[in-house]
Amino acid sequence: MDLAELQEVADREAAASKAVRFRVCSAAGCLSSGALEVRSGLEDAVEREGLGENAQVCAVGCLRLCCEGPLVRVDPDGTLYERVAPDQAASIVATLKGGEPSARRGDADRPFFSLQRSIVLENSGTVEPERIESYIAAGGYRSLHEVVREMNPAEVVDLVTRSGLRGRGGAGYPTGLKWGMVAKNPGPHKFVVCNADEGDPGAFMDRTVLESDPHRVLEGMAIAAYAVGAEQGYIYVRGEYPLAIRRLETGIRQARRLGLLGTQIFESPFNFRVDLRIGAGAFVCGEETALIASIEGRRGVPRPRPPYPAASGLWGNPTLINNVETFANVPPIIRNGPEWFASIGTAKSKGTKVFALAGKVRHTGIVEVPMGTTLRTIVETMGGGAPDGGTIKAVQTGGPSGGCIPEDRLDTPVDYESLAQLGSIMGSGGMIVMDQGTNMVEIARFFIGFCMDESCGKCIPCRAGTVQLHRMLSRIIDGEAAEEDLEPLRALCEMVKAASLCGLGQSAPNPVLSTLRYFEDEYRQLLRPGAGAAAASAGR
C-alpha cells in the first residue's frame, strides 16, 4: 500500500457514494433500542421504491443523543429523526418523493449538537465503522503514512509534545512526555497498549469511540508504535463490550489485509501488529500495572510503581499505555499540526474532552466539547437540565474515583486542574447528573460499594477499608450513627486515600469526601443525636 493506492480506495468510495444517505446510528445504545430493524426497514423501502440509484443506507457510528435513539440522520440536508420505529422507516424514505415522515424530527441545531466540537468523534456518525474504505475516504491512515514516510520517531514525539495533549484516561499525564520516556528507555522489545477497560459506572465514552471509529484508534496506536519503537500492540478491552470487540477484530483484519497493519507498513521497514486482549470484567484491570499483569495471563492485581510501565511493563519491557481517547486524538494532531491542537482548550488542558452525559438530565448521550467549557454549559445548556421540571443538585465526574460537584460550582471550566481543585477529577469522562431528589449519602455509599466489590483485595486499606466505609455509611443511612461518627469516617477516608497501593483505593474515598465537603448537612440530617453514646453504653 502506498499513498496513491490509499487515494484510489478513497476515490472508489467517493464514487460509489449516493446523493442521499440515510445514516443509521449503529452504536450499542441505538442497536439496543432497535436500530437494526430500522436499518433493514430503510433498506427495504429504498429498494421497494426503486431509489437504489440515488440513495443508500449506511450503518454509522454514534449519533450521540443516546436518549432519543434509534437515531437516523439524512444527508445531505442533515435532517435528524429520533426514536424511529421500524414501521416508520418507509415514511422517512418517502420524503425523497415529497412524502411527510411519520417519524419524529429532531432539532439538529439544538445546543446539544451545536456546542460540540469534534476532534475525537469527527467521524462518529458519518463513517461506517465496519468498513475500512469508509474510514480511508474520510482521510484515514493519511497521518500514519505521513509519520512513517516523512518523519523520524523523535519528530513524532516532539510533535505530540508540542500539541499539549494529556492522557485522557483521567490522570492527565503529558502524552508526549510518556512517549518520549518509552522511546528512550532501552529494551529489545517495546509494546504499545491501548487501555479500553472503561469500567466506571455511567461511563461509555471509550465504548463509543471504539464502536464508532475503531480504525482511528488503530491508526493512533500505529503512530505511537512508530514513535516509541514498538512492533507489537495490545488493545485491552473489557468483555462487556462485545460490539466494540467485534468491530476492532474486523478493523484489525481489514487493516492487515490492506497492509496498514502488519509488516512493512507503507512499504517501509516499520512493522506493527495489534492483538486484542479481552478483560474478564475487573474494574481494577484499568489500573496500568494490573492491566499488564492481566495481559501477561496473571491475576490482575496492581504492583507498586516505580518501576513505571514506561521503563518496565509487559514482560519487563518498556511499554506505552494510553487510553482509547488519547490514541484517537493523535491522527488529527498529525494531520492539522500541534499548533492547531494547542490552540483549542485552556492554558494547561488542550484539545477537547468526550463526556458521557448520564443521570438526571434531559438529553443523555455523548458530548465532545473544548476543554474549558463550563460544567453548566454541558449539563444545563447542552444537556437541557434536569427532566420533569427538577433542578440540578450536583454533577459527579470521574466515576467512583471522582467526586460530586455541587450546583453552585457548575460555572467551573472543565479542565484537569479546576476539577481537582473541587475535590473531583476529570477521570475518563463519565458525567452523572443528580437532581434534588438524589440523596448524596446514598450516592457516596453506592460508589464505595462499587469500589468495595471491585477492590482486588491485595492491599489492606482498600480491601478492608472500603468494607468499613460502606458499613459506616450504611449506619448513617439507617439512622444508627451520631455526630461523633463523622470524624472516624473522615479519618478512615484519609487513611484509605493515603495508604492504598493503587489508584482504585487511593481514589475510592473521593465520592465520600466530596459529598462530605459540599453536602455535610445531608449527613447531619441522618444522624441521631446521642446515637453513638447509646450504642456504646449498650456494649456495641
Partner: protein
Amino acid sequence: MATVKTLSIDGRMINAGGDQTVLEAAAEVGIAIPTLCHLDGVADVGACRLCLVEVGDPPRLLPACSTEVFEAMVVRTDTERLRGLRRMIVELLFAERNHVCAVCVANGHCELQDLAVRVGMDHVRFEYVHPGLPVDISHERFGVDHNRCVLCTRCVRVCDQIEGAHTWDVAFRGAGARVVTDMHQPWGTSQTCTSCGKCMQACPTGAIFRKGATVAEMERDRSILSFLVTAREKKQWNV
C-alpha cells in the same frame, strides 16, 4: 555493582548499597520498620502497607519494602501520621476476620499479635465482620483456617519462588479474596503440593498450621526458609 548512596533515615545519615531497599537499609542500622507481607527470601509485593514511610518534603508515602534508596533521600519511618496509619491498618485486619487470640494456635507466636502490641492497638474502633470462613483440614499434615488469614500471600510466594510448586494462589477479589490450593480444590487432594511445609513456616498468623497443634502451640521456624534461600543463592547444593 551499584554505587553506594548516602541518605538520611529518621535524621541519621547512613550509607546503603544502591540496589538496597529502604527496609534493608534501615534494618542494617537497627531501625525496624513494621512489616507483615515482607518475608526474607521472596519477592516483595507492597501489599500490607505497614512499612509505609515518608519520603522527601512534602512527604510522599512509599512502601519501604519495595522502594529503592537514592542519593540524598530523606526518609522518616516513625512520624505521628505513620503511627496513626499503621494502627488503623492493624485494626482493619483485626476487624476483617476472626483474630481472637485466646483460641488461636498461634497465640504468643503470631506476627499480627506482635504488630498489635507494637502499634499500641488496645481496642478496635471498627465493626467486626467475622465472616465465618471454612477451615480446610483435608491435608494429611497441615490445615488452613481462612478466618485467621491476613492475605499477606507469603504462602503463595514461598510455594512459588522457593519450593517451585505454585500450589497456592489467590482467588476472588475484595473482601472475598481467599488463598486457595490448586484450582480452589481441597488441599488434601492437591496434585501439586509437595507437603514441604514452607507455607506453614511462612504464615505470620494461625492461618496455616500443623495438624495437632493446639492453642498457643503453633511455633514456626523462619530460619528454615532463609537457610534454603541462602543455600540456593550461594549455590551450596551444586552437584
